[in-house]
């Protein structure tokens, strides 16, 4: 870049002539200003000024009208011209070189960020942001796919977390009774195959040890035989009397569900032996036949 006092400036003859004229004009203006101010402050000068103002008042009025007219007509024309010229000027500007010339760090040092942020209306700004749309654009699966869950989990010290937890306090807050009330215990029990439970688990051994003995086996045998014979006799009685066994009462209302029809009698005519597999068949038949009609024992 050249300055007016540099040697390079003297060597450029065309600019030198223009600058010399401008320098002379500047000197003349300053001199005229000095002389004018000296003359203008004198009494005759003030008299002349007042007289001149009075005489030129019509001209001043006319001049003001011209100036207003110029503002009305010239300004829009100037704005149009600026609009047309601005894109061309912008195209002509090399923004990259301009940005390179700017020291952004130095510029930012002059910016009061706190004040700038304080002036922002964050609520309004957030209201204008469509969070839903942003979320829709986010590919969660891709993000999750890139996360190494195993690595994260391996870094977590579960023991430390658990050690820091007050389990007792958590348990105290849990409404166990409420949870239990919501659990359908009866439904769960109904889904359990008790027979398999007894035959395939240690529960069977416990029951066998607690109920072992010939006496209990004999009692079960006698009772099952009795029930089988009862069923046989009453089935034939109902046939002879032409009674529908399903319409007969099953038992006292306090001991069985009211309204239950009588169950059909056991289909076996043989005497069940509890010590053999036949007994199981008999009991199965008894229970199976009663499955739709038997109530809850009291």
């Amino acid at each position: 870049m050249t300055t007016p006092n540099s040697p390079e400036h003297d060597e450029r003859s065309d600019e030198w002539a223009v600058d010399a004229v401008l320098g002379a004009a500047n000197r003349a203006a300053k001199t005229a200003g000095t002389v004018g101010s000296a003359i203008g402050s004198s009494a005759p000068a003030r008299l002349v000024t007042g007289l001149t103002r009075r005489l030129t008042r019509p001209l001043a009025h006319e001049g003001a009208e011209v100036r207003e007219q110029l503002e009305v007509e010239t300004l829009p024309a100037a704005q149009r011209m600026i609009r047309q010229a601005t894109p061309r000027v912008m195209n002509a500007i090399d923004v990259n070189s301009l940005l390179e010339a700017i020291d952004l760090n130095a510029l930012l040092e002059h910016v009061d960020m706190d004040r700038l942020i304080a002036q922002l209306d964050m609520e309004k700004l957030l209201d204008r942001i469509d969070i839903g749309e942003i979320i829709d654009r986010v590919d969660i699966d891709a993000i999750v796919g890139r996360i190494d869950i195993d690595a994260i989990v391996s870094k977590i010290d579960i023991d430390a977390i658990v050690g820091g937890m007050d389990i007792n306090a958590i348990v105290d807050k849990v409404d166990i009774n409420g949870i239990v009330d919501k659990v359908d215990i009866e439904g769960i029990v109904k889904k359990i195959d008790i027979d398999a439970l007894v035959t395939q688990t240690e529960l069977g051994g416990i029951i066998a040890k607690s109920t072992s003995g010939i006496a209990s086996s004999a009692l079960d045998s006698v009772r099952s035989q009795g029930v089988g014979l009862d069923g046989f006799v009453h089935r034939w009685t109902n046939r002879i009397l032409r009674r529908d066994p399903t319409k007969l009462p099953v038992g006292p209302p306090l001991l069985v569900r009211p309204g239950l029809p009588a169950a059909p009698a056991p289909t076996t005519d043989t005497t069940p032996q509890l010590g053999t597999g036949e007994t199981v068949t008999t009991l199965d038949q008894l229970e199976g036949a009663r499955s739709d009609s038997v109530g809850t024992p009291r």
């Binding site: 008790i194 066998a208 009772r223 009795g226 029930v227 006292p252 001991l255 199976g288 024992p297």
Partner: protein, 190 residues
């Protein structure tokens, strides 16, 4: 553990009207038991008197007294058992219980009435007892008079589980025995 479709844990004969066969067997057991106890009581009484009175003593009661003593004993045997638990010895063995028509305990009054009405079933050549065959609630004559019914009091389900448990126990024992035998035979072979 295997899930099944609709197992019904309440499946049992418990609470259902009992049939005539089990009731008859229970009655026979009760009569036999009560008679045996009475006979033993007489023998013991005779023996006691024998110890006190020297010489061979023969206890001879007037028929009316013997009948009265027997009647009182039978009354106490049945009435007390039914009033206390609804079960006599025989019905307890057969898994039976006497309850009121609605299923509630019968109490001393009904127990006494039923005991007094029981001989009527026997005196009518068993016809009073056989009434249970045709009656809808399987009531015998004494039940109709006393307002009672006889129900099964044992749980077939429990019996089944006991049986299954016993089977499993036997299978386990047999398995252990077979394994032991195989080990012995193997050792002999070596």
């Amino acid at each position: 553990m295997t899930a099944v479709d609709t197992p019904d844990l309440s499946v049992s004969q418990q609470g259902h009207y009992a049939g005539v066969v089990t009731r008859l067997v229970a009655l026979i057991i009760d009569q036999t038991t009560a008679s045996l106890v009475l006979a033993i009581a007489f023998v013991l009484t005779e023996g006691a008197i024998d110890v006190v009175v020297e010489g061979e003593y023969q206890l001879e009661l007037p028929p009316w007294l013997a009948a009265s003593v027997s009647a009182v004993w039978f009354f106490i045997y049945y009435a007390y058992s039914w009033a206390a638990s609804g079960k006599t010895f025989g019905s307890a063995l057969l898994g039976l219980r006497v309850v009121a028509t609605d299923g509630s305990p019968i109490g001393p009054r009904r127990a006494a009435i039923r005991t007094l009405a029981l001989p009527l079933s026997l005196l009518t050549f068993g016809l009073g007892f056989l009434l249970a065959l045709v009656q809808r609630q399987r009531k015998a004559l004494q039940d109709v008079i006393a307002g009672t019914v006889v129900v099964y009091d044992w749980d077939a389900r429990s019996a089944r589980l006991r049986f299954l448990a016993a089977q499993r126990d036997q299978a386990t024992t047999a398995g252990v025995g077979a394994a032991t035998t195989a080990t012995v035979e193997s050792a002999r072979g070596d």
